[in-house]
């Protein structure tokens, strides 16, 4: 059973603030979904070895690409808070 406390922990990990009512309803929902997906425990998986499968890693050249000023402006303009050419956030270090 998923408890309200479990949901609080998950929401904390996922960085989402939840209301009390939502914690209750999410506990119920997650419980019923987990009961459904529990079926996979019966799947005959044999001696499965995790691997990346058929896909292989593709790397691009480690080259310096200059972003045109216009693109940089567009990207910066999408930031909720901007200071000059920087994206602004609250102070994360304080002097004590």
């Amino acid at each position: 059973m998923i408890s309200k406390k479990d949901i609080e922990n998950l929401a904390d990990l996922a960085r989402i603030k939840l209301s009390d009512g939502e914690k209750e309803s999410l506990a119920k929902d997650v419980d019923s979904i987990l009961a459904y997906v529990d079926q996979i425990k019966a799947a005959p998986i044999g001696d499965f070895k995790p691997s990346a499968g058929a896909v292989k890693n593709v790397m691009r050249d480690d080259a310096i690409i200059t972003t045109p000023a216009e693109d940089r402006e567009r990207l910066l303009d999408e930031a909720p808070k901007r200071e000059g050419d920087f994206v602004a956030v609250k102070k994360i270090l304080s002097q004590e």
Binding site: L10, R15, I16, I45, F48, G53, D71
Partner: protein, 482 residues
């Protein structure tokens, strides 16, 4: 304004008319804009109709005239009006994924598929279509901006998550459309709205510029009114892209030569219960039709196919929880102030994400958390492998696997919103193509008569990796005009 028979128009017919000069791209765009004016208020297929539609069409007319003058070939999609799902980026236009968190986000670049349609082929982009928030849902009821209604019965859903694109096409509010498909999000709405929809082979269409949901599952694909139209769009958008390292080239998978009459396998053991009678009837009729046309039908067993849906609902939320982490209220999108920098995240994500997105993020966080990882995520990946092996084995003796696209025709708005698992069961036949990476095509093959309304029913054809061609050919043999 010029009268154009939009109902019977296809890409090939429109191309012919644009070439001959029966109508111009501007006249065609005007005809669609007039139809949108009449119908979109009720259907809510488009979230936004772009303000430069006629400029784009005028540009196409100039290009057509220039090419004619030089006696050069006119690209098939030049001047063709497209609807674009709201999670695909069009530079300078809002792209919100039908979420509050991106309500005011303006795309900073063009998706590769948009570049191909617009710049390479001269297609006209009409607007962005409604969807379930971040493509999470099967009915567009999870849109932050209201539900899209089914043009065949407005008390019913259009399906989802690409419900806006499917409804726009079915109601003649565009001539072709793009969607994205993570677990059936193109094929199921195509089935509900009576149009063709395809989830191509994983990697065949670039995802550069589409918002990621489940990165090992997502594909962009076409909607068309005929199989031929869907094929034309697919051919225009497919291909390798240096900006998406998961894209494949035409020789990644062994080439299969087109057979005159492919062998069709039907996993009857998976279809004996849970089908709406009208869907069962359409399946039987489709099998008879294929037999009459000379196809060999073979009953096949896919021993582990019943695990597909539970496997999907572990892997997908896991990938969702990771992909949604990028929305932090710092780089772009909605920002809400909290007490400090960390609290800003909590506040922004709480205000920006709707209930289904939160549910899947939490579920994904759970299945990936230490102590549960082995029981869920690891096990799901192992089961995904055996399901994929089952299909590989089936394709040693058949060329196509036939199932319905969805277990029922379009359901009523509100019918399944209270129970997430009931909604998830809609995806039972579609998720396998995403788990295995196989291409799958939904084709309207019959109708149900319910409450005096004719509701379309789609059949799904799944093929070998890279073998979309066989699906298109067989699709042409079963499609009916809806």
């Amino acid at each position: 304004m010029k009268k154009i028979d939009l109902k019977n128009l296809t890409i090939t017919k429109a191309h012919e008319s644009l070439t001959k000069g029966d109508f111009t791209a501007v006249e065609l765009a005007q005809a669609y804009l007039a139809e949108i004016e009449k119908k979109n208020g009720e259907l809510h297929a488009y979230l936004e109709v772009y303000d430069n539609v006629l400029d784009q069409a005028g540009f196409a007319d100039k290009a057509i005239a220039a090419l004619k003058k030089e006696k050069k070939e006119i690209p098939m999609l030049m001047g063709i009006p497209f609807a674009i799902k709201d999670n695909i980026l069009v530079k300078g236009k809002t792209a919100s994924s039908a979420s509050r968190i991106l309500e005011n986000y303006s795309a900073t670049y063009d998706a590769t598929v948009i570049k191909k349609l617009q710049q390479k082929n001269g297609a006209v982009l009409i607007g962005r279509t409604n969807m379930d928030e971040f493509a999470m849902g099967g009915s567009t009821e999870n849109s932050a901006y209201g539900v899209t209604k089914n043009p065949h019965d407005t008390s019913r859903v259009a399906g989802g998550s690409s419900g806006g694109s499917a409804a726009a096409l079915a109601a003649d509010l565009c001539l072709a459309a793009l969607g994205s498909d993570t677990g059936g999000s193109i094929r199921q709405p195509a089935s509900f709205c009576g149009v063709i929809g395809m989830k191509p082979t994983y990697g065949s269409v670039s995802r550069y510029g589409v918002m990621a949901m489940g990165s090992s599952l997502d594909q962009i694909g076409p909607f068309g009114k005929t199989v031929e139209d869907a094929q034309i769009v697919f051919d225009a958008i497919k291909g390798r892209d240096p900006m998406d390292s998961t894209t494949i080239s035409s020789d990644t998978y062994p080439r299969v030569s087109l057979k005159k009459k492919p062998v069709v396998g039907v996993p009857m053991h998976f279809l004996d219960k849970g089908l709406h009678p009208s869907v069962k009837k359409t399946l039987d009729e489709t099998i008879s039709k294929l037999k009459e046309k000379g196809y060999e039908i073979r009953e096949i067993t896919l021993p582990n196919i019943a695990y597909s849906l539970p496997v999907y609902y572990v892997i997908m939320p896991a990938e969702v929880s990771s992909n949604m982490a990028r929305f932090d209220g710092v780089k772009y999108g909605l920002h809400k102030d909290g007490k400090n920098s960390i609290d800003d995240y909590f506040a922004s994500r709480a205000a920006g994400f709707g209930p289904e997105v939160r549910r899947r993020i939490l579920l994904g966080t759970y299945v990936l958390s230490s102590g549960y990882y082995d029981a869920y995520y690891y096990r799901a990946n192992a089961a995904r492998r055996i399901i994929t092996d089952d299909f590989a084995k089936a394709f040693e003796s058949v060329d196509i696997v036939l199932t319905p696209t969805a277990p029922s025709p379009a359901f009523k708005i509100g019918e399944k919103t209270a129970d997430p698992v009931a909604m998830y069961l809609e995806d039972i036949f579609t998720v396998t193509a995403n788990l295995t990476g196989l291409p799958a095509l939904s084709v309207p093959a019959g109708c149900a008569e319910i409450d005096g309304k004719k509701l379309p029913i789609g059949m799904q054809l799944t093929g070998r990796h890279g073998d979309e061609a066989t699906l298109f050919e067989a699709g042409k043999d079963i499609e009916i005009g809806v």
